[in-house]
C-alpha cells in the first residue's frame, strides 16, 4: 500500500512536470526517466549478483526499434514504439540470456560487454542504418491520438512516466517476494540454491530478460526525447554510464535508480554548460568516493537520514 501511494505521488509529480515545465526540462526529465528504467533493470540483475557492462545493447536495440518503426514502416505512434522496443529488448535478451545465464562475475560482465560491442560494430558499418551518424525518428501520435506540435513530448513524458511507474511497481512487488529473496540467494551461494532444489540458471535468465526488456523500453523513450538514434547508444561507455548510475543509487530501493538518474542528468546538463572538460573526471571521483565511503549507494544516506529524523 505504501508502495502504491508512493507510485501515485511520483506519477502525479511527473505529470505536473510534463504539463508545466519548460521544454528543456521536459527533455531532461525524459532522458532521466529513460535511464532510470534501464538502471532499474540493472538493479534487478545486481540483486542476483551480476553486473552487466553491456546494457547499452538493449538500450540501443530499443532505440533503433523505435526509430526503424518510424523510418522504415512509417509507424509514428509513440505507444507502439515503446511497446515494440520493450518487446524487442526482451526477445533478444531471451535469446542471448540462454547463453549468458551460464556465466558469472567478471565473465558475465565481459561477455555482455562483448555482445553490445558486436551490435555497435554492426551498426557503425551498416549504411542502411546511417552508420556512425544514425538517423532521425518522428513520433506524432500516441495510441492514435494526435497533439498540437510542442505538446507531443509532454504527452510522451506522461506516457513514459506511467509505464515506468507501473514497471517499478511490478519490480518492487517481484523483489519483495520469494523471487527477490531467491535472487539474493543466488548472489550469495548458488551451490546452496541448487542443493535446495531450485535452478540458479533460471533465476539469472529471468532477471536478465527483465533487464533486457526494461533497457529496450528506456532506449525507445530516450530516442523519443532526442528524436535521433546513433550507434553511441550501444557503445560501452553508454553501458558504463548505466552502471555508474546504479552504483550512485545503490540496489536497495526501486526509487533509487530514478533519483540517481535524475541527479546524473541534472549534473550532466550543468557540467556541459560550465565545465565540459572536467565532467568525466567528476564522475570518476564521485564513483571512487561512493565505492569507498558509501558502497550501498547514496540511497542508504537518505534512509539513514530518514530513520534518524
Amino acid at each position: 500500500m505504501k508502495a502504491l501511494a508512493a507510485a501515485a505521488v511520483a506519477l502525479a509529480l511527473l505529470i505536473a512536470l510534463a504539463l508545466l515545465a519548460p521544454q528543456w526540462l521536459v527533455f531532461m526529465a525524459m532522458l532521466a526517466l529513460a535511464k532510470g528504467v534501464v538502471v532499474l533493470g540493472l538493479v534487478v540483475l545486481m540483486r542476483t549478483g551480476l553486473v552487466s557492462f553491456g546494457q547499452g545493447l538493449y538500450f540501443g536495440i530499443g532505440a533503433y526499434a523505435a526509430a526503424l518503426l518510424s523510418h522504415q514502416w512509417h509507424i509514428a505512434d509513440a505507444a507502439v514504439m515503446l511497446l515494440a522496443a520493450a518487446a524487442a529488448g526482451g526477445l533478444i535478451a531471451a535469446l542471448l540470456g540462454l547463453l549468458l545465464a551460464r556465466y558469472r562475475d567478471i565473465f558475465f560482465a565481459m561477455l555482455s560487454l562483448a555482445l553490445s560491442m558486436i551490435l555497435y560494430g554492426l551498426l557503425v558499418k551498416s549504411a542502411a542504418l546511417g552508420s556512425t551518424d544514425g538517423f532521425n525518428l518522428h513520433a506524432r501520435t500516441f495510441f492514435g491520438m494526435a497533439f498540437a506540435s510542442g505538446m507531443e513530448r509532454r504527452v510522451f513524458l506522461i506516457a513514459g512516466s506511467a509505464c515506468a511507474v507501473v514497471a517499478a511497481l511490478m519490480v518492487h512487488r517481484l523483489l519483495g517476494r520469494h523471487w527477490g529473496r531467491l535472487a539474493s540467494a543466488v548472489r550469495d551461494n548458488e551451490l546452496r540454491v541448487s542443493y535446495l532444489g531450485a535452478s540458479p540458471y533460471r533465476v539469472v535468465y529471468v532477471n536478465y530478460l527483465i533487464a533486457g526488456a526494461l533497457a529496450g523500453f528506456g532506449g525507445a523513450l530516450a530516442a523519443l526525447a532526442v528524436g535521433h538514434v546513433d550507434p553511441e547508444t550501444t557503445y560501452w561507455t553508454t553501458s558504463g554510464e548505466f552502471v555508474f548510475i546504479a552504483i550512485l543509487g545503490g540496489t536497495q530501493s526501486i526509487i533509487a535508480p530514478f533519483v540517481a538518474a535524475a541527479i546524473f542528468e541534472a549534473l550532466r546538463t550543468i557540467a556541459s554548460q560550465y565545465a565540459p572538460n572536467v565532467w568525466q573526471m567528476s564522475l570518476g571521483l564521485a564513483m571512487l568516493a561512493i565505492i569507498m565511503f558509501q558502497p550501498a549507494g547514496l540511497w542508504s544516506l537518505a534512509e539513514r537520514w530518514r530513520r534518524s529524523a
Binding site: H178, R181, A185, D188, N189, S194, Y195, L196, G197
Partner: protein
Amino acid sequence: MNAVLTAEGLKKSFGAVTAAANISLAFDANTVVSLIGANGAGKTTFLNMVTGYLKPDSGRIMFDRRNIVGLSPRQITKLGVSRSFQVPQLFQTLNVRDNLLIAESIAGAKDPQAATDAALARFALEPYGHQQAGLLPEGIRKLLDVAMALSSRSKLLLLDEPTSSVSADEKFAIMDVVMGAARAAGVTVIFVEHDMDIVARFAGRVVAFYDGGIIADGTPDTVLRADSVRRYVIGDEVPHAAA
C-alpha cells in the same frame, strides 16, 4: 530388506589420487549410518557422487529404484536427497530467518512463514533469527546448514561433519538437536564424523573408509574395535599389529 540408496562399484579418481576405489554400499530405510575415515579417505567424495556434484568414473547409484548417476544436484535434491556440507553453505548476507524462508519456499511449503517458524523452533535457532548468517558462531552455522537441508522434506539426509570446528562440549548438544529433528522427519541419515564418541552414541551402523576403499562395515561396537580401523582411522597404536 528395504534399501533407500544403493551404490554399486563406484570409482572416481583425480589424476593419480583414487578417491573412490570400487565402492559398493546399501543403506536401509530409517537407519542412521556414520561414515568414518582419515582426512582424504574419500568420504566427502562419496557424498558428492551421491548428490550429483561429482560424476563417478563408473558405477551405479540407485535411489528409489532409479539410477541417479548423471543427474544434477538440483534434480537429485528434488528426488528426495538433501545434504549439509563440511563448510556450511549458507546465504551469508541474509539473516537466519531469510535463509530458512528461502529454503522452505523452494521446498514448496504451503505456508513458508509458518514452516520457517517451526524450523527455527525445531533447531533452537529462534534467538538468532535476525542475525546475519555470515556472522554467526560455527556451531550455529552448522545447525542452520542442516536445518536448510531438512527443509526439502527429503527421504535421505546426508550430513558432512555436522560437528567439525565446533567445541567439544557443544558437539553432543548439536547432534541431539539434529538427530531429534531427523527422527521427527522420518529420514534416513548418513553422517560423516571424526569424533568417535559421537559416532558411538548416534550411529546404528558404521562404515570405515580408507584410501578410497571400505575397510570395515558393521555395528559401532565391532567396527570401532577392529584393528584396521584403530590403526588407519582412529590413529591408535595397535599393540599386536599384524604386518
